[in-house]
Every structure is written in structure tokens, then in C-alpha cells.
């Protein structure tokens, strides 16, 4: 027997004669009741030390320009062009080349209010994962209509066959005396623009 057959045979033998488990209770909340979901999202993103900016659509380019300053900015190919006029479009830079950029600006797929999370799914306005990982500063633009209240609502909106990255605040660690400090290997600065 090869390892696959043997492990599966062991599993079947182990389960032989077991009583079937009861059905899974699903009485936990899937939707929320918060009166101001976008406000909650802003509050919770801020709580984990990301910078939150609530802006009107027309002010997005100016806000981004103010945040990235004179730094070199990389953008995914599908990002709305007027947002970052000086942005250099990703053409498949190596990791070392990406490390030469100061910032990256992307859109997002879903925001989760309760946990203050943004989720990227690699669509054209977000780009491949390395893009939002190597540069030290990530500016993420979230439309108000992309924000849901709960984790179950977010999973419902996401396509699991895409690569997904759930981001809640900047890179952090609790490995020294279980005290959280921000800024390890991922982007040490995270700005979240909420539009609308």
C-alpha cells in the first residue's frame, strides 16, 4: 500500500463503528445590526494603528499625493489612473526591484467593519500579492459600498479560488512579552482611504 492508501485506510479503520456527530448549529450571527457600518469600519481600522482618511471621490488624488509625498510609487495596472498620476505601473518587477519603491497604492475587494479588515483578491486594481507586501507603505482605497459589517458577510462576497489577503492594520508582532508592536516584515505604514 502506498502512503495515501495506508493513511486513508487508517482513517477509515479509526472511524469504524463511530456514532455520527450531531448537526452543526448555525445560530451564530451572520449579519450585523450596527447603524453606521462605515463609521465602525473607520473606527476599527484606526484602532489597529492604520491611518484612516474619509474623503470624497474628488479628493482622492490629492489625499494620496499628500500621503506618498516625493517617494517612488508603484501601482497595479488596473488602478483608476487619475488617482496616482506619478505611479509606476507594475510590469512584473522582481522582489528586489519592488524593494526600491517607497509606496504602493491599490484598491480593495471587501472591507470588514467589525474587525477593521481590508481584503485584497488580486483583481486588476489590487495587483499581485508581492506588490502590497514589499514596499514599506501601503495606501489602500476602499469604497464605502465595499464595506460589510461581519466576517461571514465578507466571506460570502469573496471568491476562494482567487488568492486572498486579509489585512488588519500594519504588520505587527506580539512575540516579545506578548505586547503588540507594529512594524515587522510587511508594510510598516498602512493608510486606508474610505471614499463616499
Amino acid at each position: 500500500m502506498n502512503a495515501r492508501e495506508e493513511v486513508l485506510a487508517r482513517v477509515r479503520a479509526a472511524l469504524d463503528g463511530s456514532t455520527p456527530p450531531p448537526p452543526v448549529p448555525r445560530d451564530y450571527a451572520t449579519t450585523g445590526t450596527h447603524p453606521d457600518v462605515v463609521g465602525l469600519f473607520a473606527e476599527r481600522v484606526d484602532d489597529y494603528r492604520a491611518q484612516v482618511h474619509r474623503v470624497a471621490a474628488r479628493d482622492v488624488p490629492a489625499t494620496i499625493a499628500g500621503l506618498v509625498g516625493d517617494g517612488r510609487v508603484v501601482v497595479p495596472a488596473g488602478l483608476a489612473p487619475p488617482w496616482v498620476p506619478r505611479g509606476i505601473v507594475d510590469t512584473g518587477f522582481t522582489a528586489l526591484e519592488l524593494d526600491e519603491f517607497d509606496a504602493v497604492v491599490t484598491g480593495c475587494r471587501v472591507g470588514i467593519a467589525v474587525t477593521g479588515t481590508i481584503v485584497l483578491d488580486g483583481a486588476a486594481d489590487q495587483g499581485r500579492r508581492a506588490l502590497t507586501l514589499v514596499p514599506d507603505h501601503h495606501v489602500c482605497v476602499v469604497r464605502a459600498d465595499q464595506v460589510v459589517e461581519t466576517v461571514p458577510q465578507a466571506l460570502h462576497r469573496l471568491d476562494p479560488t482567487r488568492v486572498l489577503t486579509f489585512i488588519s492594520g500594519p504588520s505587527a508582532t506580539s512575540d516579545i512579552e506578548l505586547q503588540r508592536v507594529e512594524g515587522v516584515h510587511g508594510p510598516r505604514r498602512l493608510d486606508v482611504l474610505i471614499v463616499g
Binding site: 502512503a3 495515501r4 495506508e6 493513511v7 487508517r10 482513517v11 477509515r12 479503520a13 479509526a14 472511524l15 463511530s18 456514532t19 456527530p21 450531531p22 452543526v24 448549529p25 445560530d27 451564530y28 450571527a29 451572520t30 476599527r44 489597529y48 522582489a95 528586489l96 477593521g116 479588515t117 488580486g122 499581485r128 500579492r129 508581492a130 507586501l133 514589499v134 466576517v151 461571514p152 466571506l155 460570502h156 476562494p160 479560488t161 482567487r162 488568492v163 486572498l164 489577503t165 486579509f166 488588519s168 492594520g169 504588520s171 505587527a172 508582532t173 506580539s174 512575540d175 516579545i176 512579552e177 506578548l178 503588540r180 508592536v181 512594524g183 515587522v184 516584515h185 510587511g186 508594510p187
Partner: protein, 480 residues
């Protein structure tokens, strides 16, 4: 017959029994201070974010039932996972035990032609001793999680599931970094942020050049073939994203049936582990995604004693564990004895049941046979467990298994004591007799130097003097 995790490979068994190993740890006042401080911090954080969730108990019930469902349907779900990973360009491998898993991974790395790998913190690879196997094959394994890095640089072993270096304080970490990091700033302070930045600088070039990444998986979704890693620092994203080849090593129990089922665990895990509403980064991937991340993706499914756990219908629920470590952080025994006393990569309350179930025990001299007794059965672990594993019940179950396995042999002192107590309590007459005998013997007594095992008690506590009359006697006199 169930096949346990083999001895001699990996890290599931120490050399000393728990009481002996704990004795050394208890004498280390620095260790006790480090552990006390860290666990108090995390307990408070966890409680605060759990209290925010109105449906916490419903989520726990769902998490528990989902895991029970996974165990019951494990053969079909494993095959389904394999089909979905394969369909999306991944390669699935199976390993009966640690040695086979290590051989598989070494061969996969060798096939890429590189001599170094970057690793995401993974309990499964710690369990099987993968780093040692890679090293023996001439392959350098870079641990990239900060705590794993502290352990690796300190030539130490992990003592906690989530924070393997929990036994170290900032001053000790600074010393390790100064000693072991070749290009570290000699003026390094012990400020946690400064130490984290030193780790960033130390690993940056390694990440950017890495060709092979090795990870574990927090969850594998059967109906989509999706794997996930839950982390904080971004080292996981680096290892999962930048290399050309990704090898994921995962225990066969880490499945969830459907994508939507993750909604339960992604709420339970972060709040229970780091005490956050959500951990900074969660990555999910399904096979290979053209143009994004590793284009060669392997999944190694390991048994290594898990089917032996599954074969124990009561003990089976230990496989529900999602490795959050909440039970460690609330355990008064763990807090004082520390993780190394358990001798296994799985310490604390869950380790005290999972480890002996995975390895089996070879008699009462086996260090792992002492683990089910490393608990006062206070129940704090059961309350904290996000998937409601009834750890006290499992501990009692394993104690009973141990006692039953030894029946028929030469009775131990404990066997005789329990038999004597059982006899004495067999009827009120015999009990009254025993009460009088016990009272008499102590009054005539030997004072503070009672014979073993009572001497273990009187080492630090006074025994109460027996009352002049028992309740039974009083009742007969006053109300009888």
C-alpha cells in the same frame, strides 16, 4: 491496531517526567516572572475581545460541531481536498509519519536545486523535526517568525504554541540578537520595537532572494482546495508569496468542509490566540495562481499518530484543536511550569492530552505517561477553548486508560491506596472504622514527617488535625 507517532524522530517526547522537568522550571524565578507577565497580558487582551462578541458561545458550539463533522467525514473530505488542490495545479503528497514527511520535503527541496528555505512558523514542521532533517541534508532553514527566530538563534526549543519564545524576556532576546546576528547594531536596545526592527533587517535580504518557502496551514478547505495561513508579522506573506516553490506541511485533521465554514474559525482563532479582533494578515491560496506567487505548489498531508488519536472515540476531540493556545495562557500549571516541562512541541493542557494520544505510552516510566496528571483539573482550559474541547474530561479519560493498561501487573503504591480507599468507602461501617483509624494514627502520629506520598503534601503545608468527633458521630449524638 492504531499506529502512533514513531519515537526517535521529531519533538513529541521529552526525557523527563512532567514533575521532574517542572521542578527545574519552578526554580527559575526569571522564567516564572516572564511567563507570569506574558500570560497575564494575553489573558486580559483575550477576555476583552471575547466579551465584545455577543454570539461567542454560538460560535464555539458551531466550531466544535464543525470539527466533529470533519472527523466523522475525514476520508471523503481528504479526498475532496486532494482533488481540488490537484485540479488547480497543486501537488498533494501523503506521509505516514514524521520520517516519511521529512524525506518527502527534503526531496522536494533538493529537486529545486537550492540549499536554503524560508519557513513560516508551523507546528507541524516542529512536530516532525523538519529543520533537523533539512540541516542533515545540507539545507539551511531560516525560521522567519520573530519568536521562532529567537528560539532558533538561541539554540533553544519552543515553549508555547503561539509564542515559542514566551519564556524569554526582552533583555534575554537582546542578548541573543547581539550574540547571534552577524550585522546587528551593537547599540541595540531591549525595546520590543527596536528588537523587531533588528529582525526585519536580519531577514530582509533572505526573503527577497528566497526560492523555496515552507509553511504549515491553519485551515484547508475541502470543497475548494483552499489553504490558509493566519499570522501577524508579514513573514508568512513573504514566504507564501515571493519564492518560486511553496511546500505546505499539514496534519490531516486541519480541514474545514466548506469555504463559508471559515467564517466561524476566522472569528474564533484571532480573538483566542493573540487577543485581537483579527490578526494583521491572513493569506489564502488555492493551488497555483498564474502570475501571482509560487508557480510550484506542494501540499504534504501527514498522519504521524493522528489516526491513533482518531481511533480513540473520546480522545478524538483533541484533534479539533486549532492551535490558538488560549488553554496554555489560562492554565495555572502551564504558567508556573512553562512549556518545556511537557517535553513536546504541544505543551499546556491540550498538549497534555494530544501528545500522549499521538505517541501512545510505553508504561508508567514513559515521560508522556505523566502528562495527563499535569493538571489540577481546574477547568479554565475548557472555558477558554474556542472549539469547546473538554480537556479536563480528556485528562481523566487518559488517566483511566493508563490505570487500566497497567491492571494485572504488580500494583503500584497508588493502586493500593485507591483500592484501600475504595474498600473503606464501600460501606458506612467500614468508613467509620477507617475514620477512627486515620484519626488515631495521626494523633499518635509522626508529626510533620509523614511517609510518602503524604510527605509530598507536608513539605509545604500543614495537615489539619483530625476533629474530636466525625460528623457521623455528631449526628448520631445530636439528631440520631
Amino acid at each position: 491496531m492504531p499506529v502512533h507517532a514513531p519515537a526517535g524522530v521529531g519533538h513529541l517526547r521529552g526525557t523527563q517526567s512532567f514533575p521532574d522537568a517542572a521542578r527545574g522550571a519552578l526554580a527559575d524565578t526569571q522564567l516564572r516572572r516572564n511567563l507570569g507577565g506574558a500570560t497575564a497580558t494575553i489573558r486580559a487582551k483575550r477576555q476583552a475581545v471575547v466579551d465584545e462578541v455577543d454570539d461567542w458561545e454560538q460560535l464555539r458550539e458551531a466550531g466544535s460541531a464543525l470539527k466533529a463533522d470533519v472527523m466523522a467525514r475525514l476520508p471523503e473530505l481528504l479526498v475532496q481536498l486532494e482533488e481540488n488542490v490537484t485540479a488547480r495545479g497543486g501537488v498533494v503528497h501523503w506521509a505516514r509519519d514524521a520520517a516519511e514527511a521529512n524525506r518527502l520535503v527534503v526531496d522536494l527541496v533538493r529537486a529545486t536545486g537550492v540549499d536554503e528555505v524560508v519557513k513560516v512558523k508551523s507546528m507541524a514542521t516542529q512536530e516532525i523535526g523538519l529543520n533537523e532533517a533539512l540541516e542533515a541534508a545540507g539545507i539551511a532553514a531560516w525560521e522567519t517568525d520573530l519568536a521562532e527566530l529567537i528560539v532558533q538563534l538561541g539554540h533553544d526549543t519552543p515553549s508555547h504554541i503561539l509564542v515559542p519564545a514566551i519564556h524569554r524576556n526582552r533583555a534575554e532576546i537582546r542578548e541573543i540578537f547581539l550574540r547571534e546576528m552577524p550585522d546587528v547594531d551593537p547599540d541595540l536596545t531591549d525595546e520590543p520595537r527596536v528588537l523587531a526592527m533588528a529582525a526585519r533587517a536580519h531577514l530582509r535580504r533572505v526573503f527577497l532572494r528566497a526560492k523555496v518557502g515552507i509553511s504549515g496551514a491553519n485551515f484547508a478547505v475541502a470543497d475548494t482546495g483552499t489553504l490558509s495561513v493566519v499570522e501577524s508579522e508579514g513573514n508568512g506573506r513573504m514566504c507564501l508569496t515571493l519564492p518560486e516553490t511553496l511546500i505546505t506541511v499539514m496534519g490531516i485533521e486541519k480541514l474545514v468542509p466548506t469555504w463559508q465554514d471559515l467564517e466561524v474559525f476566522l472569528q474564533l482563532l484571532p480573538r483566542s490566540s493573540t487577543g485581537e479582533r483579527m490578526n494583521p494578515y491572513t493569506s489564502t491560496w488555492t493551488g497555483v495562481t498564474p502570475g501571482d506567487g509560487p508557480q510550484t505548489v506542494h501540499l504534504v498531508l501527514i498522519d504521524n499518530g493522528r489516526t491513533a488519536v482518531l481511533a480513540d472515540e473520546v480522545g478524538r476531540s483533541a484533534l479539533h484543536c486549532i492551535r490558538c493556545s488560549a488553554c496554555l495562557n489560562v492554565c495555572p500549571v502551564y504558567e508556573r511550569a512553562g512549556g518545556h516541562a511537557y517535553g513536546s512541541v504541544y505543551p499546556g493542557p491540550i498538549g497534555a492530552v494530544l501528545t500522549p494520544l499521538m505517541t501512545g505510552t510505553t508504561g508508567h516510566d514513559d515521560p508522556n505517561a505523566s502528562l495527563p496528571y499535569a493538571s489540577s483539573l481546574c477547568g479554565a482550559c475548557f472555558d477558554a477553548c474556542p472549539v469547546r474541547i473538554n480537556i479536563p474530561e480528556l485528562l481523566v479519560h487518559l488517566r483511566a486508560k493508563g490505570v487500566d493498561a497497567e491492571r494485572g501487573g504488580i500494583p503500584s503504591g497508588q493502586d493500593l491506596a485507591m483500592k484501600a480507599a475504595g474498600w473503606a468507602m464501600g460501606s458506612p461501617g467500614k468508613f467509620a472504622l477507617a475514620e477512627r483509624a486515620a484519626g488515631l494514627s495521626r494523633v499518635l502520629g509522626r508529626g510533620s514527617s509523614l511517609p510518602w506520598p503524604a510527605s509530598m503534601w507536608t513539605g509545604a503545608r500543614d495537615l489539619p488535625a483530625p476533629p474530636t468527633e466525625t460528623f457521623r458521630q455528631w449526628w448520631a449524638r445530636e439528631r440520631g
